[in-house]
């Protein structure tokens, strides 16, 4: 009997990278469907385009790096990154912007650092921030949810918009700033929060449509927690920080500072808390460290939103916190068994 010497444990592993990524995709579905429900088929077009481009980039670079292509493509990590990136985009943007963004996500954000597991910055946020800084006009032209404008672009129109065959100007009437942006601009002009809230883009708690999408991200997040795909530390700390910061300033002056509920349900706080900040590769790894990491992101989101130059700050907050991860991890090492 000839034996190949392998090392224990000799147990078939249950959880795999692929299964983790599939759980994330499942958790993204309800929010994505709600998003498309309120904002039209542009959302789905963005996701499909981003995913296809990401897979193409991934395959090309893996080939260049002489790495096995299929095992990496089928771990679905590229799909998840592209999906999250696409969700950050305005619902209608030209295809080449998606190409540039995904290019930065996959090449600069991921593979230049050594590929999955080695990137210090959240790749989807790297791609998004590049676009946000380089193409501010396209990246801040958002569209009203159908519940406000009464219509959305049809699939055909949306495709035409994305691939450039149609006159973009004709739908200008549907475009608008996001509720967060409107609040920011208005407060700067001295209008009170109560007055802004009368605008038709606002619903019960936050932006119309937005508030319900946030709810479905939350359901997806609970799924991630229930399947133990992520742990509670980062989302809880992040949401707690946003609530604490917004509550503090809301109590100080409710005329210029919006309510905690508005902050929670606007923009990308919920998806950020459960899906973006929890990217394990770029987050802190110790339990205590994850709490600090989540708190840091939450505080930065609020600071950027209220006093910064951008209406929402998830991407910048996450990237800034990514930089602090080695430090956080080093100083939050757990006590080893038997140590005082």
């Amino acid at each position: 009997m000839t034996s190949v010497i392998v090392s224990s444990p000799y147990v078939a592993q249950g959880s795999t990278l692929k299964r983790l990524m599939i759980q994330v995709i499942i958790a993204l579905l309800p929010g994505t469907i709600a998003y498309a429900w309120y904002f039209g088929p542009g959302v789905i077009i963005n996701i499909c385009l981003a995913v296809l481009l990401a897979l193409a980039f991934e395959a090309g670079i893996l080939k260049l790096r002489a790495k096995p292509v299929m095992p990496h493509l089928t771990d679905f990590s590229a799909v998840v990154a592209a999906w999250l990136f696409a969700l950050c985009l305005p619902m209608h943007i030209p295809w080449w912007l998606v190409l540039v963004g995904i290019g930065f996500t996959m090449v600069a954000g991921k593979h230049l650092y050594g590929g999955l597991g080695f990137n210090p910055f959240n790749p989807a946020m790297v791609g998004y921030v590049v676009l946000l800084i380089s193409f501010p006009r396209e990246m801040t032209t958002w569209y009203l949810p159908n519940s406000v404008s009464g219509e959305t672009l049809s699939l055909k129109e949306a495709l035409a918009y994305t691939f450039g065959g149609a006159d973009i100007q004709q739908w200008d009437a549907l475009s608008s700033a996001t509720p967060l942006d409107q609040v920011k601009t208005a407060v700067a002009q001295g209008i009170t929060v109560a007055e802004i809230r009368l605008s038709p883009v606002f619903g019960e708690y936050a932006g119309k449509g937005w508030e319900w999408i946030a709810f479905w991200w939350f359901i997806g997040g609970l799924w991630l927690l229930a399947t133990r795909t992520i742990r509670w530390h980062i989302p809880v700390a992040l949401l707690a920080a946003v609530i604490a910061m917004s509550l503090l300033f809301y109590l100080i002056n409710p005329e210029t500072y919006t309510s905690p509920l508005f902050h929670l349900l606007s923009g990308a706080v919920v998806i950020g808390a459960f899906f973006i900040a929890t990217d394990p590769v770029t987050a802190a790894t110790t339990d205590t460290g994850r709490i600090y990491y989540g708190l840091l992101i939450g505080c930065l989101i609020y600071v950027i939103r209220v006093w910064g130059g951008y209406p929402d700050g998830i991407a910048f907050a996450v990237l800034l916190a990514n930089m602090c991860v080695p430090l956080i991890d080093y100083y939050t090492q757990p006590r080893v068994y038997g140590e005082k």
């Binding site: 034996s3 010497i5 224990s8 000799y10 990278l17 006590r335 068994y337």
Partner: protein
């Protein structure tokens, strides 16, 4: 019942225990030849005490040493020593080691037992008898029992823990032993109590072994021991690890760099207790043990009382042979911490609690390709030593061994929990084992080079000193000579003959010149 505490992490595993529990405790037959490695314990090396051609009796010492951390090896049956040579042994590296090979005569004739007055033995005499019997910890660590007892007795023991936890998958030898020989385990525990005089004794058994718990409770009721409790603990791997078990039962952690003994806790495996009973009551040394044979490639999994030195191939035959043919993998120990064996020639030793006979498909292939670490931290959640396995992996892989030590590499107990939960299927423990051996090798090399440097420097110094001394001696000699010369010159002037001759020549030349003028 003591208040039970938790240890960090751990896993609930598929135990694979029922397969090997169906057939009770079977007696393995003698085979033609036994192969006994000289060293079957952790500690110093033994020397052979027999020569080729010697006839030996069952129970006769065939290898021993006077070192402190040592356990003698005895002949498991009667026969003739046919060779003392290198033979494949149970070792992760698949290495060969010196074995004493006994040609079995089949008489199974034993040496005459020396009767002892057991009731009047003092603790030191009991430890001496245990030492003579070559008893080591049978839970797998094979640390010699007598030096451990001496140290425990000297330091004072508060809590004695009899470990019948057996948390590793596949292994059932302790379970079977407790079911069938509970009385021996209980009386062995009693002897340990006599030696160590602990305040409390816990007999810890995982709650997935109700039959063993019942049998032990019955035996304890028949032979009550003072301050002794049978404690059923939750089935979470690795609760049988000494540090984890101490934490579960006492809530205390064994401080970094210390032993359980140092905090007054003494742990001993149930198999060792039974061996102590044999040694003290029958003067029978450790020459056999219960071995589980299990796995998906063995026809009849079960437990066997096997003589040490029996080749595994014999045990496989007794258990009905291979189920799917003789290809696949043999593993000694359980599926979490066991190690692959080089083949079925390898003999059963004191450490052999279980032989897993696995099909090729069941054993994950050696790691050619694995996904990269995504830092998910699942390994950290399950680590019973509360380490950061993914940081250890990162540094071990990069060869940053100093950093691995900063992250407490040597506190890793190699339980395998991290590797089991890793979604990227990284063989983490393998990286840690490799890093540990690299560090140990470097320390050894450092020690050697330090010693060599010291020797060199000392030699240089010695040579220089010698040179100085030689020079000094020469100088003294020269001075003495000059002094002697000077002393001789004081008496009468001695003319230099060369100078005198030159003077004479000069004078002659001068005269000749004067003559010619």
């Amino acid at each position: 019942m003591p208040e039970l505490h938790h240890f960090h992490g751990g896993l609930v595993l598929d135990g694979h225990k029922t397969e090997s529990l169906a057939r009770g405790l079977q007696q393995a037959s003698l085979t033609e030849r036994l192969f006994l490695p000289l060293r079957q314990h952790i500690g110093d090396h033994n020397k052979p005490r027999v020569e080729i051609g010697d006839r030996v009796l069952k129970g006769q010492v065939i290898a021993s040493d006077s070192a402190l951390i040592c356990a003698a090896v005895h002949a498991p049956t009667s026969g003739t020593i046919s060779a003392i040579e290198d033979y494949p042994v149970a070792h992760p590296s698949g290495k060969m080691d010196t074995c004493i090979i006994i040609e079995v005569d089949g008489d199974d004739k034993a040496v005459e037992p020396i009767p002892v007055d057991l009731d009047n033995l003092n603790p030191d005499e009991m430890i001496e008898l245990i030492c003579r019997a070559g008893i080591v910890g049978l839970g797998g660590a094979v640390f010699p029992t007598s030096p451990k007892l001496s140290r425990g007795k000297a330091q004072g023991i508060d809590t004695l823990i009899i470990n019948g936890v057996e948390c590793e998958p596949y292994i059932t030898c302790d379970d079977i032993l407790m079911r069938f020989n509970a009385a021996e385990v209980i009386s062995g525990s009693g002897y340990l109590q006599r030696i160590l005089a602990p305040r409390t004794t816990y007999i810890a058994i995982e709650d997935n072994k109700p039959e063993a718990i019942a049998a032990m409770a019955k035996a304890l009721a028949e032979h009550p021991l003072a301050g002794t409790e049978i404690v059923s603990i939750p089935t979470i791997y690795p609760s049988g690890g000494e540090k984890q078990l101490v934490q579960i039962l006492t809530g205390k952690e064994v401080p970094h760099g210390q032993l359980a003994l140092d905090i007054g806790v003494f742990c001993q495996n149930v198999g060792t207790c039974a061996a102590i009973t044999h040694a003290l009551e029958k003067d029978e040394p450790l020459i056999s043990r219960v071995v589980t044979i299990s796995g998906d490639n063995i026809a009849q999994p079960g437990n066997w009382e096997v003589r040490l030195g029996t080749p595994i191939s014999h045990l496989i035959e007794l258990a009905g042979g291979y189920r799917y043919g003789a290809s696949g993998q043999l593993v000694m120990g359980g599926s979490m911490m066991g190690f692959a064996l080089s083949g079925s020639k390898v003999p059963i030793v004191k450490a052999t609690n279980c032989i897993m006979v696995m099909r090729e498909e069941t054993i994950p292939k050696s790691p050619g390709y694995h996904d990269e670490c995504i830092r998910c931290g699942k390994c950290t959640e399950v680590c019973p030593a509360q380490l950061l396995p993914q940081q250890l992996y990162w540094h071990a892989r990069a060869g940053a061994y100093e950093r691995t030590q900063e992250f407490h590499l040597f506190d890793c107990i190699e339980c395998g929990c991290c590797s089991t939960v890793c979604p990227s299927r990284i063989p983490l423990v393998q990286y840690y084992r490799a890093a540990k051996s690299e560090i140990r090798a470097a320390q050894k090399a450092q020690f050697k080079s330090d010693r060599a440097r010291l020797r060199f420097e000392f030699r240089e110094k010695r040579l220089q000193l010698k040179k100085q001394q030689d020079e000094e001696r020469r100088r003294l000699k020269r001075e003495a000579l000059q002094k002697k010369k000077a002393g001789a010159g004081n008496g009468k002037s001695i003319e230099d003959p060369v100078q005198a001759a030159l003077d004479r020549v000069k004078a002659r030349k001068k005269n000749a010149q004067e003559d010619s003028q």
